[in-house]
């Protein structure tokens, strides 16, 4: 199962375009390794958010994970990153 999880990653092009979009200065560039590392950061962020939402749903004894569960874990998630 862990092997399967590994396969899903953000595309490098997507990450680099995202970063470029948000930079205020056009002169700012990104090195190749930085893009790979940022893709990993975002992957961890998404997995962490999902895991916490799943746990919240489990605590409430719900079958599926819904918007309210994501809403409840959001403040702490944002504080942790």
């Amino acid at each position: 199962m862990a092997g399967q999880e590994r396969e899903v990653v953000f595309k490098k092009v997507t990450v680099s375009k995202l970063l470029m979009l948000f930079f205020k200065d056009d002169k700012t560039k990104v090195s190749n390794d930085t893009v790979s590392l940022m893709a990993e950061m975002l992957r961890i962020f998404v997995i962490e958010a999902t895991r916490r939402a799943v746990k919240q749903a489990e605590n409430e004894d719900c079958l599926g994970v819904d918007l309210e569960h994501v809403e409840k874990i959001l403040p702490q998630l944002l504080l942790d990153f």
Partner: protein, 131 residues
Amino acid sequence: MDEKEAYTQRLKAAVHYTVSKLCQSTAADCEKEMSKQAVAAIAETTFRQCEIFAKDLEAFARHAKRHTVTVDDVKLLARRSTALSSHIQQKSEELAINNQELKEKRKKNAAKRKSKEMEGDEADEARETEN
């Protein structure tokens, strides 16, 4: 301005695509199902968080009087959580090792190509003198 908005929307869609795949595989591991709204909320959060990340990275690079964001800036970005910080450190070391291997391979290949070219040149010269 409209064009920029369309570009942003397309990037958002790209993020949403990967986020939904990640969410499904993670939720499947825990035997739960994610609703579409929950996935969309996580995708939107990721997009906004990326903006914060990018602005922080830019500020870090600027503080170090650089125009290029480097791996060290990302390490600084992950400082708030110890586990994340050590994971990122490990990842960056892996990347560095991979890069070194690639470089060595490229060097070897370049050397091989050079020696082959030399042989080719010598053969050409030999042919020319024969003629």
